[in-house]
């Protein structure tokens, strides 16, 4: 265990050891949190579709996120040329897509996927970018309790 390859960070899930190669750099931060650039993904539970996108600088800044394709058949996203450049994408297949998830207080059955601002991650370059969708072809939010058949 090479110590310089790891970083101990305070997260909303408690103290965690983050390996340096799990750090994702967000050149633009996240919308509303433009000054935070380093994040990592924390798994909540083995096999859970939910993750926490945790800032390395601010323990309170941990957003609940999920892989939308675990829940939705269809969620086409549009990535502009400028955004592809920022993500240094050579190929759109390099990218992983996450969406933020909201759970109203005390109502986990009203868990919703937020579809307006997917977060794209270039695994290879370890770069992340939030990419607002303007198409309006899909709703801003979908509740997970709705039948998806």
């Amino acid at each position: 265990m090479a110590r310089q390859n790891e970083k101990i960070v305070q997260t909303r899930l408690g103290k965690q050891v983050v390996s340096m190669d799990k750090i994702i750099y967000f050149p633009r931060g996240l919308m509303g949190f433009e000054d935070k650039h380093e994040f990592t993904l924390l798994q909540l539970k083995e096999g859970s579709p939910f993750l926490v996108l945790q800032s390395l600088d601010d323990p309170r800044l941990g957003l609940l996120v999920a892989d939308p394709y675990s829940f939705l058949e269809d969620y086409p996203i549009r990535v502009s040329e400028a955004e592809q450049k920022l993500l240094r994408l050579e190929n759109i297949r390099q990218v992983a897509v996450l969406v933020t998830v909201s759970i109203p207080k005390g109502e986990p059955e009203k868990t919703a996927l937020n579809l307006t601002g997917p977060i794209l991650i270039n695994h290879k370059a370890r770069l992340g970018l939030q990419v607002p969708q303007v198409d309006g072809k899909f709703p801003n939010q979908v509740y997970l309790h709705m039948p998806q058949e």
Binding site: F50, G62, L64, E81, A82, L86, G117, N140, L144
Partner: protein, 79 residues
């Protein structure tokens, strides 16, 4: 705020590499053409604000609800 008046077809230059052109005015709608550097993103303000709000909501999840949701949806995914 700097306020300028432009007619359709007239442009503004912001710095060296941003050009904004008023293309047409129809009633309450103004069509604007933007020439911006390739790495510059342009978003409508309402979209930006919506994403910001959704980020805030994703933060406000309490740890208890987070756990509950994890349990609720475990095994309900398609995988």
């Amino acid at each position: 705020m700097l306020i300028l008046t432009r007619r359709p077809g007239e442009s503004l230059h912001l710095g060296d590499n941003i050009k904004i052109t008023v293309l047409s005015v129809q009633g309450k709608q103004i069509k604007i053409g933007l020439e911006v550097p390739g790495d510059m993103t342009v978003y409508r303000e309402e979209v930006y604000l919506r994403v910001k709000e959704q980020n805030r909501l994703a933060l406000e999840t309490s740890d208890a609800d987070l756990l509950a949701a994890t349990q609720l949806w475990q095994g309900k995914t398609k995988k």
